[in-house]
């Protein structure tokens, strides 16, 4: 049974990235915006894994450099979520809100 082509992987990865981008623009809740950022990171990971599978080395194994990069992306994303949620908690302590509409201190 044939496997899907690289184009299909790239297109669904682009769709996932676009969904994440739309969520970051539309939503007003910082936590949900953060989840949408995670979706965008995951879309980038999907691109990397697809390229890793499709560029087989001359030995006949997948090119594992792409998967190593995904490994590091997942690690950095975990660290980023931890720090970001800590920032959100301290923001909520200071302002009692997590809606971006109500955070207007920097508005000129």
């Amino acid at each position: 049974m044939p496997t899907p082509s690289l184009n299909e992987y790239l297109i669904i990865s682009g769709l996932l990235f676009a969904i994440g981008l739309g969520g970051v623009i539309i939503r007003r809740n910082i936590i949900v915006i953060f989840m949408c950022l995670e979706l965008m990171l995951a879309a980038a990971s999907l691109t990397l894994v697809a390229f890793s599978r499709f560029s087989v080395t001359d030995k006949g194994l997948p090119d594992y450099d792409g998967q190593m990069l995904v490994f590091f992306i997942i690690t950095v994303a975990a660290a980023e979520v931890a720090v970001g949620l800590a920032i959100i908690v301290s923001l909520y302590r200071a302002r009692q809100t997590i809606h971006t509409d109500e955070l207007t201190s920097l508005r000129g």
């Binding site: 049974m1 044939p2 496997t3 082509s5 690289l6 184009n7 992987y9 790239l10 669904i12 682009g14 769709l15 996932l16 990235f17 676009a18 969904i19 994440g20 981008l21 739309g22 969520g23 623009i25 539309i26 007003r28 936590i31 949900v32 989840m35 949408c36 995670e38 979706l39 995951a42 990971s45 999907l46 894994v49 697809a50 599978r53 499709f54 030995k59 006949g60 194994l61 997948p62 998967q67 190593m68 995904v70 490994f71 590091f72 997942i74 690690t75 950095v76 994303a77 975990a78 660290a79 980023e80 979520v81 931890a82 720090v83 949620l85 800590a86 908690v89 301290s90 997590i98 509409d101």
Partner: protein
């Protein structure tokens, strides 16, 4: 007709992503994110990236989702957005991703990459590894020793980035503790206020 699993998992991933945006309740959004990542892990496994797929489920569905749910519970976020949304934000949030998709499809359609994934020649690759190593045995028997190959690469070629990422995790841990402490530290014998 390609394998139906790809389309099942892709639909799962994309519908999970859409549900993250359209669910009003943040807890539903967090659970939809998990659905999306499980679909993504299925696609990874379909791409012969077993280790990355399992890692995706363990880290995202296991750790990060729990962290999100925990913070949502801690902050007691209610059903949000009773106040009207701004039309401008919705317009921009639809138009910009659609423009991105159109551009991307245009670029992708210009190259001809419509062939299937190239086959893996596992028996031929076994010659590069030592005779009685686990990698050699598994390659000879025709299964891809994904974890062993990644581990070998991680601790040889990528040893320095691995240690840098370890320091990054340490910095993130210390940063979280520092951020979570009360910012207004009690001075000159003031009593720290509760709450």
């Amino acid at each position: 007709m390609p394998s139906p699993f790809f389309y099942i998992f892709a639909a799962m991933m994309l519908s999970g992503g859409l549900m993250v945006i359209f669910m009003r309740n943040p807890v539903s959004s967090a659970l939809s994110m998990v659905l999306s990542f499980i679909g993504l892990a299925g696609i990874f496994i379909g791409l012969n990236a077993y280790f990355v797929g399992i890692l995706q489920i363990l880290v995202y569905a296991g750790a990060i989702m729990v962290l999100f749910i925990f913070i949502i519970m801690l902050l007691d976020v209610k059903e949000e957005e009773s106040h009207p949304r701004k039309g401008l934000a919705i317009t921009a949030g639809v138009l910009i991703p659609v423009a991105l998709i159109i551009q991307l499809t245009g670029v992708i359609l210009t190259n001809d990459k419509s062939s299937s994934a190239p086959p893996l020649t596992l028996e031929a690759a076994a010659a590069d590894y030592k005779q009685d190593s686990v990698i050699h045995k598994k390659l000879i028997s025709g299964s891809l020793p994904d974890v062993h190959l990644i581990g070998r690469k991680l601790f040889t070629e990528y040893n320095f980035p691995l240690q840098v990422i370890a320091v990054l995790l340490l910095v993130a841990t210390v940063g979280c503790v520092a951020l979570s402490k009360k910012s207004s530290a009690p001075k000159n014998g003031d009593k720290p206020d509760k709450g």
